[in-house]
Amino acid sequence: MIRRSTPGDFAERLLGGPALWGGLAALTAFALGPFVWMLLTSLKNREELYATPLRYLPVHPTLENYIDAWTSPVTPFSRFFLNSLWVCSVTMVATTVVSVLAGYAIARFRFAGRDALLLIFLATQMFPSVLLIAPLLTQWRALGLIDTYQALIYSNFSFTVPFTVWMMVGYFSSIPRDLEESAMIDGCNQFGALCRVVLPLAAPGIAATAIFAFVVSWSELLFAISFTTETSMRTLSAGLLYMVGQYEVQWGPLSAGVILSTVPVAVLFTFLQRHLIHGLTAGAVKG
């Protein structure tokens, strides 16, 4: 078969070769450049950091910025890190349990107001956090929860739960009902069928949901700065902002802090990106 040479063929060769590689190089450089610059900054000592003209590569790479940030008594980064780890872990576990139960109920039981409930979960996904700050602050003050982990964890539910429930409904709906029904005929009750049959099948989805909850609460800033006043209660995001507020901005330790806060989510994401992306796009792409 002889194919006519269309003008498209030139574009095709271009797209297959130079344009593809050029585009990929530009894309990767644009996405990673700022991280690389921050990493280089964090490895420079004070002199090199504020040198004129600008010095791009650290001549004497040093880890002193990391040590400074981690052990500083004024802005105790290690403490911020542990606070974030605790708040996000508890949020993750609680969100997962709550959304597995609710997602299962919505996917499996027919009840009045089911569609309305789903709509509420969808609409609350779009709520701005800023809208909740003043009323939540009033509420947590009335309950004496300012400067507690609980206030941060409960507040995180406002944005994790609506999304994860929606994700779980999708996962459970894709698991055939027959499996549970046969388990129930064999003598399992509803809860037993959920634990023994459905949960193992939904495990990848549950993992994605959990990671999602962890990553979004790791990024949370506005609640953390509004509901804590003590330095020792700050999370990473709030702590980084607090480091900016101290005296003049210390870009050395701050860049080290930025790199340290990026690493955990980047690692989690790399390992689980396939599941996570599937979970996030499942609702939007059919099939």
């Binding site: 498209g8 700022p34 991280f35 609409a123 956090s129 009033t138 609506p162 509004s226 990026t262 796009t281």
Partner: protein, 309 residues
């Protein structure tokens, strides 16, 4: 009268099987419903109530019911109208460029090449890191004296002298929008890539055999088949960007002179810095109404798309 029956003495269950199933369902739903009630529903009601009071945290003696006073103040507040305009610039500037660059990125990442999985993961990084981190990284890149952006632009000969990007009223908005574009490209890339992967390859092969070039295949196959996901992704992104306050809050705090103040950061400032909860409540209610209008439009559009697609 005694009727003896061997088979029929099964005790009727206290609640019927159907009822029991329903009850179990409600029990499973209860924790999620409670979470939403305590962290979303009650606060919204509280915000509406706050908006009707003069409620400034450090002036408890002035606390009183003022009806629609805060809303009247809102209508007369030139900064509020400015923030609405800034929000439009911020949302459309961000979403249009994120979409175009994200689409290009998705088309690139859809091609087969060596090391694709690694490149995909790396290019998604800007999207998953915390907003504060994004803000601080770019603050450092934009820094007038030691920032690499000024340095590169001067070395390339495009600029004569150093520019204070974030403290210049004309440049601050483009600078924060550019940062948000950097952050949001991966979102569109992921969504559109998932869409591209769902298009059957035979369609392209058939078009190829018929002599359709790259552009015509893109125009007649790729675009129409991606339409539903383009609509959903764009609508979600518009709503999300309108609400998003972290980046601007970290980078400029709405300044200089409110040049980058959008409605959501203005609400945040009223609650967080001015501690004027009454006014913040009124702003929240307005945000909520805008949000509901957006969401209703979104549901209408996506429903329409599903019926067509």
């Amino acid at each position: 009268m005694t009727t003896i029956s061997l088979a029929g003495r099964r005790a009727r269950p206290l609640i019927s099987w159907r009822m029991r199933k329903l009850l179990v369902g409600y029990c499973y739903l209860a924790p999620a419903a409670l979470c939403m009630l305590a962290t979303v529903v009650v606060p919204i009601v509280l915000a509406i109530k706050m908006s009707l009071y003069n409620d400034v945290l450090y002036k408890p003696q002035d606390y009183r019911f003022i009806g629609l006073g805060n809303y009247v103040r809102l209508l007369e507040d030139p900064v509020f109208w400015l923030t609405l305009w800034n929000s439009i610039v911020w949302v459309f500037g961000s979403v249009v460029f994120q979409f175009v660059a994200g689409f290009a990125a998705a088309l690139l990442l859809h091609q087969a090449f060596w090391g694709r999985a690694l490149v995909r993961t790396l290019t998604l990084l800007p999207w998953i890191i915390p907003g504060v981190v994004v803000g601080l990284i770019w603050e450092w890149l934009y820094q007038p004296n030691y920032g690499v952006i000024n340095d590169l632009l001067i070395k390339a000969g495009w600029m004569q002298e150093r520019v204070a990007w974030l403290s210049s009223p004309d440049l601050a908005m483009p600078a924060v929008v550019f940062t948000n574009v950097w952050r949001g490209i991966p979102f569109f890339a992921i969504m559109l890539l998932a869409g591209l992967q769902a298009i059957p390859g035979e369609l392209y092969e058939a078009a190829h055999v018929d002599g359709a070039g790259v552009l015509s295949r893109f125009w007649h196959i790729t675009l129409p088949l991606l339409r539903p996901i383009i609509v959903v992704a764009t609508a979600t992104r518009i709503i999300w960007t309108f609400n998003y306050a972290d980046l601007i809050f970290v980078m400029t705090g709405g300044g200089p002179a409110n040049a980058t103040q959008i409605t959501s950061t203005y609400t945040l400032m009223q609650a967080y810095s001015s501690l004027d909860f009454g006014y913040a409540g009124a702003l929240s209610v307005v945000l909520l109404l805008v949000m509901l209008a957006f969401t209703a439009a979104y549901l209408r559009i996506t429903r329409g798309v599903e019926e067509v697609g």
